[in-house]
Symmetry: D3
């Protein structure tokens, strides 16, 4: 009997969208306000969805405390109250769009889960803009 | 690497549920309060989910500003602060249930997207009632 | 020991802003989209705040079921799934702006409360626009 | 033309997580605070998603009032303002984790739906922890 | 220059409304479902509002971490994942209505604040019912 | 007849808490993660509450479009997608705590309102931390 469990957490970070292969005019045209040089920021909301069998002994797919700890170690601690472009190694050369951030988060959480679980991650950048990634299909 | 992006927008409209092929008694029995002759209204919330490859140059599946503009032109401008039954041509002969509205919205946004993108649309009529349409399967 | 209790309920209604003493040009200039002739609508949220002594026998300022019943009789039943301009007597000659609606609601609930209670009413027209009325001071 | 409709409702209940086959030390280690003997509680949110053809006569997949009545009879009435462990027969021998509750709810609603409809149920235990079940696949 | 800061936290608890001076019939008539003998529960939300001068050195009325710690020590630790009636000494003889809970919380937080600060506490029992207490006036 | 109207808007900005009169050790001790040198960020929510007489001709305290324009010109345009410390003149020498930001916003909106209106501003930094300022009393 497969079910999915969701765990929601938040982090606050600065970022800037920029492609160093482009000149300023093109960066400004493509990324608009998000390209401003001194960074802006967001209250990001990350939701991990983990799908697996319900363990008959515990009644859990997975203990929510375990998912919480994984998200805190892999996402909150390295990203929260940081500048994604300057402080987070994964974005030194990768543009921190919501799409790229959610892929990085998925990879980091995926590496901590047993292969029997499926994973999907949703990332809210604002209340009106969010993204979802479920791995390569 | 395929991801999904979501864009949320709102519009405020009046509507009434009514099937002109039925007499008043049957309209009242089936549609209840929603059939009242002078209309009522809602703060509709529309969420478009677009799935596609992440462009390695931009880090975007699609620029959220493009989706925002499409939703504004196809949905907000023609529906917002309007009476769906009286003012919107698509509902002259189509009952504006949430299900029928979401199909119309999906068709209008779909016509504006390249075929490489998948589309799903969610429409909230109230905080407790909402619908979703992803095209004919 | 005085405390305040809040009760939140919702209704869905159509309305139109219009001053019959003005010509169409002025109505359009002042009320914009809200003046469109065929009505639009909202999911209104009404929150009643009642302040009074905590009854030592019940531990209640007032039983929330009593407030709920008053709001349902005075607000939800006459306003919900109705056209405020056409169906609700109070707005036959009073423009149903959020401000005027909240005053009407306050008057109707106030008339049902003992004088020992204070009343304040908040009315959400959208998630971004809301109003509050606490009686004449 | 298939669409999905969602209906959201809430209930307030007490529960405790406990496996009678384990000793206290193991129950405490696995379930932590949730194992405390005198129960705690939640405002549960249940969302039923029903997928089916849009009826061309009504414009409905299913009348939301029908789903509301099913949820009230199968979920709200038997679970709301109750102790899940002590008052609800399904949990006399089944640990009321969110996963087990959502499976029970799915089974109860599924039994009330025609086979032409698909069903998925989401259950929020808190704003940060929720689960989803769509039947055995 | 006086400003107010708000801090929001949550706890999950079981409770039952009951007045031991009344017989069962009167308890049932006054408290209804809330009087059921085996308890039910809620996700309570507590919001502390503290008003005081903005410190020119820090730019804070009070460090939000200090308020957070006070709420955790005074409210979350003793109330969360507990049965208010059975486990919390303050409610051994005091009916745990939302009004009585918010007064107890106010007293506990007030005792931890310097007298130069004003305090108001809001407590949500559900998304539709909440209370507020600001001390005796 | 006095009522209050509220208008909610959002902006996304980077900031860092720092007092240049203190050494690094003290800045770190007082401001913790918020002092990190490369900035972090938030989705700020600003709510302006304006209290005044209801104009009998319009039924408005003030047209919500006028408030919206004032907030956009005074707050959103200069703050949104900016670094508060580096880009916004008011914070060149003023620590951008939520308290200091809300005072600056209040001053800027206040200067645009006729004296017959009262103003209070609420600023959310996160869903759990927010502040309010109503001018010097």
């Amino acid at each position: 009997m497969k079910a999915s469990i969701y765990r929601r957490q938040t982090f606050n970070a600065a970022h800037r969208l920029h492609n160093p292969a482009w000149d300023n005019e093109k960066n400004d045209r493509i990324f608009g306000l998000c390209n401003r040089p001194n960074f802006h920021g967001h209250n990001y909301v990350v939701i991990a969805k983990i799908t697996g069998e319900i363990d008959p002994d515990t009644g859990y797919v997975m203990d929510a405390k375990i998912i919480k700890d994984i998200i805190e170690e892999e996402v909150i601690e390295p990203f929260d109250h940081h500048n994604l472009n300057l402080d987070v190694p994964e974005f030194k050369e990768l543009n921190p769009t919501a799409e790229n951030i959610v892929v990085i988060i998925w990879n980091k959480i995926r590496a901590r889960l047993e292969s029997k679980f499926d994973l999907s991650v949703t990332l809210y950048e604002t209340e009106n803009n969010y993204v979802e990634y479920s791995g390569q299909k």
